[in-house]
Amino acid sequence: METIPMPAINFAAVMPETILSVFAMVLLLVNVFVPGKQKAYLAYLSLIGIIAAGVSVFNAWDAPLALREGFNGSVLQDNFSLFFKGIFLVSAALTLLISDQYLNRENCNHGEIYPLILLSTAGMMLMASGTDLMTIFLGLEVLSVSLYVLAGFNRDNVKSNEAGLKYFLLGAFSTGFLLYGMALTYGATGSTKIGSIASFVAQNAAVTANPLFLVGMLLMAVGFSFKIAAAPFHMWTPDVYEGAPTPITAFMSAGPKAAGFAAFIRVMIFAFPTLKADWSDLLWILAVLTMTVGNIIALSQDNIKRMLAYSSIAHAGYALVGFAAGNAEGAAGILFYMLSYAFMNIGAFAIIVLIGKKGEANNNIADFAGLGFRRPVLALLMAIFLFSLAGIPPMVGFVGKFYLFSAAIKSGFIWLAIIGVLNSAASVYYYLRVMVYMYMKDPVEEFDWVKVTPAIALSLLISVAGVMIPGVVPGYLLQLAQKAVLF
């Protein structure tokens, strides 16, 4: 009876995930053992956890290969995943900052929201650094299950319940597609490790004609497209974004979307590099559909959360343009864009949190009427975020779109870039509409004199800095993104 040798463990490769999980468990216990209704201190404890994870991400940048790989090739913490981990941490931190006021107003200040946010962030990180289909799948499940619960977190609100249930049903369905695709790929190539799949495909060119393999790749693409809310797999987005608690909507639009892109890019570029011509065409169609559907339907929305939901579909489409390009510039463009999208979108949602009233009321675009006269600072910030979303210089949204579209042109996808620019121009209409309400209409009813808590003020400050500074001097962040895709 020989003993089984120990696998190669390397905790350094999963340090940020470990920190977040440990913090989540401690918070869960603190939540039940410390009595009292006021749970705001848990948010600050979670922030400490996020900062600690951020420090470990920072330290791991450019680390030698021995410190990156771990668990028999299940994870690889390269610069690519570290950049994404930075995005997840930023969106989680901003979400924590804006959630406390909302939760108190909606009377659902249960402490469990903080461990759930931390655990979903850990799941996203595992998706970004997973190099085994199983790691990616389980990371995605940890993320998704937390999000289903978070979407239905406002238990007394019917729309929140609806959002949780719809997200769960459709999400479980799409997970089925993803898992089926992984199983078929495993059956065709004999491994779940992305590196082994890639070397198998390189050695056996015949496998690319195997229907088992092609259907596997297609089904995985469907599963990931659902996660990033690409048309035609976007149907869940508007209802879930509208019904979910506003800070959670902000979180969902920034973090999980980036995580979906991270895993999507990892699987397509690492495992199927020889099939680039095939998936590039597929992504071309997806990108055009996603941009167009998102922008056209966003034009007719009256609820601002719903409008931003369709706008987030459109933004996934812009990122897909860079993905379809299939070159390093495109991948770097996605990384840069996802980070800037986290800043501008969570910033916009922070303003929505402030303007909203109890019971998820006051979320219509018309409710922003006259904000420019009553609360000029808030209106100015909202205008900055919306201009950035529309892609107007000197905000960061412009730089991001510029790099995505120029990557597409470099790869010869000129029509794709033109469609992207046209879409971006169309999107200006619905962002401007909010500004017309804010600056050119009289208020319908008086605004409640909302108190801007220090936490929200801090999140707004970080967001506006994240939108303006890289918008004017994008060099440093772009260099980081370009370095991150030197796989």
Partner: protein, 118 residues
């Protein structure tokens, strides 16, 4: 190959035969003298009112859900128990981490009062 499972097949067959046999035999041999009292669900006490298909409380549901989750935990223990000696100290540690994470969940459920019949 299926020879190893012969005892199980025999057991299933015996169980099925016993169940079916009891019903069939009792209906064949037993006397049939139905009366109102005999046909009622409870021979003594109050007369049952309404259908037996009442709505269940959600309490049952949460217990069942927690049961599944810890059931899945138990599933992971079987192969570990089989390999316990060969995995050695390391196996004990990795299962320790697994159990501790779920134990946190268990403490949470307990302190939250989800196991109480409120």
């Amino acid at each position: 190959m299926l020879g190893a499972y012969l005892p199980i097949i025999v057991l299933v067959a015996v169980a099925a035969a016993f169940g079916l046999g009891s019903i069939i035999l009792s209906s064949l041999i037993g006397q049939k003298k139905p009366s109102d009292v005999k046909m009622s669900p409870y021979e003594c006490g109050c007369d049952p009112v309404g259908s037996a298909r009442e709505r269940f409380s959600i309490k049952f549901y949460i217990i069942a859900m927690l049961f599944i989750l810890f059931d899945i935990e138990a599933v992971f223990l079987y192969p570990w128990a089989v390999l316990f000696k060969r995995l050695g100290m390391f196996g004990l540690m990795e299962m320790g981490v697994f159990i501790v994470i779920l134990f946190v969940g268990y403490i949470y459920v307990w302190k939250k009062g989800a196991l109480e019949w409120e």
